[in-house]
Subunit: 205 residues, 2 copies
């Protein structure tokens, strides 16, 4: 079990990814604070100094996890939106569920992305890949806004930020996989759906 495939050689061959995987595992088990550079190295079967050949320091590893998380997140949202098929309303609802599902099932990624206080400049591409996720939300909002009469259209970015904020708020406060922070009379999914319904109603949709 220690070192898959027996690590036949002095060089690992794929240490960078192995460390990120190990980090994910450890974050899932013990939270982002519990993530230890030494632990990750151990899980990958290398010495404690080896990770420094791939990451400047512990925070850089966390930033890489966050980076990868944002990519998967953007992919998941893009797939859920599916260009607004078969119609924007249905696709929008799918999008909301996908958001919470990601937060629930990919807790390690999600916490690395939003709650491990990774400085956005830790990875110089972090902000960009983060924007990709926001762009999906924004695109969805634009499609919905298009259904409104011209005089009553809100700014798409603002609407996207509202959607994101409520989604993140719910995910962050109630939507965690295992350690639910608070008992609720409804599921996070239901809460978000109801909230979005009211919000869209308020826009006139």
């Amino acid at each position: 079990m220690s070192g898959r495939r027996g690590r036949r050689s002095y060089h690992h061959g794929n240490l960078r990814e192995a460390l990120i995987d190990a980090a994910l595992q450890l974050i899932a088990e013990k939270g982002p604070t519990g993530l230890t550079f030494a632990d990750a190295a151990r899980a990958a079967g290398v010495s404690p100094a080896a990770p420094y050949r791939h990451f400047a320091d512990r925070d850089a590893l966390l930033a890489s996890v966050a980076h990868q998380g944002f990519e998967k997140f953007a992919d998941a949202l893009t797939a859920a939106w599916d260009d607004g098929q078969p119609n924007p309303r249905t696709a929008f609802r799918r999008l909301g569920h996908a958001y919470l599902e990601f937060a629930r099932n990919e807790t390690a990624y999600y916490t690395a992305m939003f709650e491990a206080q990774v400085p956005p400049d830790a990875d110089r591409e972090l902000a960009r890949v983060g924007d990709r996720a926001l762009a999906v939300l924004r695109q969805a909002c634009e499609a919905l806004i298009a259904e409104l009469p011209e005089g009553k259209r809100p700014p798409a970015l603002m609407m996207a930020l509202h959607v994101w904020s409520m989604s993140h708020g719910i995910a962050s406060l109630f939507g965690r996989g295992d350690a639910a922070r608070r008992k609720l009379p409804m599921s996070p999914d239901e809460l978000l759906e109801a909230g979005m319904l009211v919000y869209l109603q308020g826009l006139g949709l």
Copy 2:
């Protein structure tokens, strides 16, 4: 400078509070992860082992900070709501601003409360004092709901959770004091106010 008032005696006299204050300072400076038991002890002018007379471990200190934060938070929200004076709408808007203001100005408390992943059972009163804050939101929602015709009244708890989620989402994503995570075309306050306006509109208010 080291040890205010010269620490005239072997015993500190007020170490517990001094440690919490030091923790706040350190969290504000270096984030909840940067908070170190040893640092807090140093700031209070005592040995690294002294804190253990007052807190089971480092996490217990963090939990106490969170606890105190929830109390101040609930107080701030209660004051802002001011029993709905002069009218629920005005008071509700004040409430929103107070929420973001707390997140902005009391960043150390806020992060300890919501982003330091303190397990809710770390302090056995934590959940209760957290509920006190929610209760204020709920009360405000009830006052607003009362303005609606009987057939169109949503559950107050659900509405409170929506309000909380959007507020927390905005505070968490954009509303930090110094290290703003993302550039916005509008202030967090404006974003929340606009979001709440749309939401209330959706409810029929």
